[in-house]
């Protein structure tokens, strides 16, 4: 198998390199990829949508359909992880570990034993495989998470003028919650941002995107033609497209954030949602 694979790969690569020699040079401004559509996008973005970041305009306006279905793909991936992995918690949980906080002693409670109360301050439940109690990590993450989220909001809101937008901001927001789940434990993270919230937020994000498009339809324009939103925002057609892009980006950010967290919860605990990484 190894030799067959190697031969296939080398033949494939040699053919590709042979034909790649006919491709345009690196950094060639007159290559076919940059001659047909992209000059239109670059020259009309300011007058059409009043957004200096051309990537944002193309992403959410000129190619709005594409991005809508990309968001749907991301949401569907989250759903697929949920349906593949999620399992109900069993009635008789296997052995659990607790830390007695004042003394630092670890207790192992066998199957069927009497467990401490859920919100107990004295006994803290810990993961069975690896549960360090590091003050430095917890407090550093507590400080950093707020700034990550603030930066994520900036990336979403400032996507019109600088590199950024819904996808990047959403991933940053999701990573802040995942950092919390890694630095503390999965149960505490689920208490703050639970599974239902992530499912609803993911669907809400896709709905916000499609809803903006549908609103344009109701106002008499084509689907996702934000020009029709001008009476709602009380602005010119170009500014209405700019605001429409912002609505859509917020929807994308919601969907991506929720799905990243949801996939992490399901993958890290193999669907049981009790002990994470």
């Amino acid at each position: 198998m190894k030799i067959t694979g190697l031969v296939t790969v080398i033949i494939c690569g040699a053919l590709l390199i042979f034909y790649a020699m006919d491709f345009p040079d690196f950094g060639d401004g007159t290559s076919p990829a940059s001659t047909y559509l992209s000059p239109y996008f670059i020259e009309h973005t300011i007058e059409d949508a009043n957004v200096p970041n051309i990537v944002t305009t193309v992403l959410a306006d000129y190619r709005g359909y594409d991005t809508m279905y990309e968001t749907t793909v991301v949401f569907t991936a989250g759903l697929a992880c949920f349906f593949l992995l999620r399992r109900k918690e069993s009635q008789n949980p296997p052995a659990r570990f607790y830390r007695h906080t004042p003394t630092g002693i670890t207790l192992r409670i066998e199957e069927g034993g009497k467990l401490p109360a859920e919100g107990s301050k004295v006994f803290m439940r810990i993961d069975s495989l690896w549960a360090p109690d590091s003050l430095i990590i917890k407090n550093t993450c507590r400080l950093v998470i707020a700034f990550i989220q603030l930066f994520a909001l900036y990336v979403v809101a400032h996507g019109h003028h600088s590199p950024g937008g819904g996808f990047q901001g959403g991933v940053l927001l999701g990573s802040s919650i995942i950092l919390f789940a890694i630095s503390n434990d999965l149960r505490r993270s689920i208490k703050r941002f639970n599974e239902k919230t992530s499912a609803i937020l993911g669907a809400l994000g896709v709905l916000l995107y499609a809803g903006t498009g549908f609103l344009c339809l109701l106002l008499g324009a084509h689907f996702l033609n934000y020009k029709a939103l001008a009476p709602i925002f009380r602005s010119t057609a170009a500014m209405a497209r700019s605001h429409g892009i912002l609505c859509v980006e917020i929807g994308v950010a919601f969907a991506v954030m929720a799905v990243m967290i949801w996939i992490y919860y399901n993958l890290s605990s193999a669907g049981k949602h009790d002990e994470g990484l």
Partner: protein
């Protein structure tokens, strides 16, 4: 010879992406472990992203953000900015590739639960035994 070196120098981005793609494809075909196959798939996706982004580049031109200020806009020339279109396509592709990686890992977990192993030949032999061959 001179000609060939010049040619490779002008098209090194294609060679870089093809080498990365070969590494990914080899991992997909030859590796026995499912997680290693998934890593190969991820390398393959990254090579495609590299290919698209490299086609966007124009030597010495600005990033695709139009210069703007409080003054009047000057005329925008398409030749002054690099091509934004491949960037848009890859922006969404990166996030989607993370999501599909999640699904692939979920399937790997599911396979591990069913067969107790991630090695492909072990799984195949178990399937053959179950089928009674």
């Amino acid at each position: 010879m001179e000609n060939l070196i010049h040619m490779i120098g002008a098209k090194f981005n294609y060679i870089a992406y093809i080498i990365l793609m070969m590494i990914g494809l080899y991992a997909l075909i030859a590796k026995n472990n499912l997680v290693k196959k998934i890593i190969g798939m991820s390398i393959f996706q990254t090579s495609i992203i590299l290919f698209y982004v490299s086609t966007a580049y124009k030597t010495g031109k600005a990033i695709p953000i139009v210069e703007h200020g409080h003054g009047a806009h000057s005329v925008i020339h398409a030749t002054d900015y690099i091509n934004p279109l491949p960037h848009v396509l890859m922006l969404t592709a990166i996030v989607v590739s993370v999501a599909t990686l999640g699904v692939a890992l979920a399937l790997a977990i599911k396979v591990y639960r069913q067969y107790g192993t991630l090695e492909e030949d072990d799984i195949n032999s178990q399937i053959r035994i179950q089928a009674g061959k």
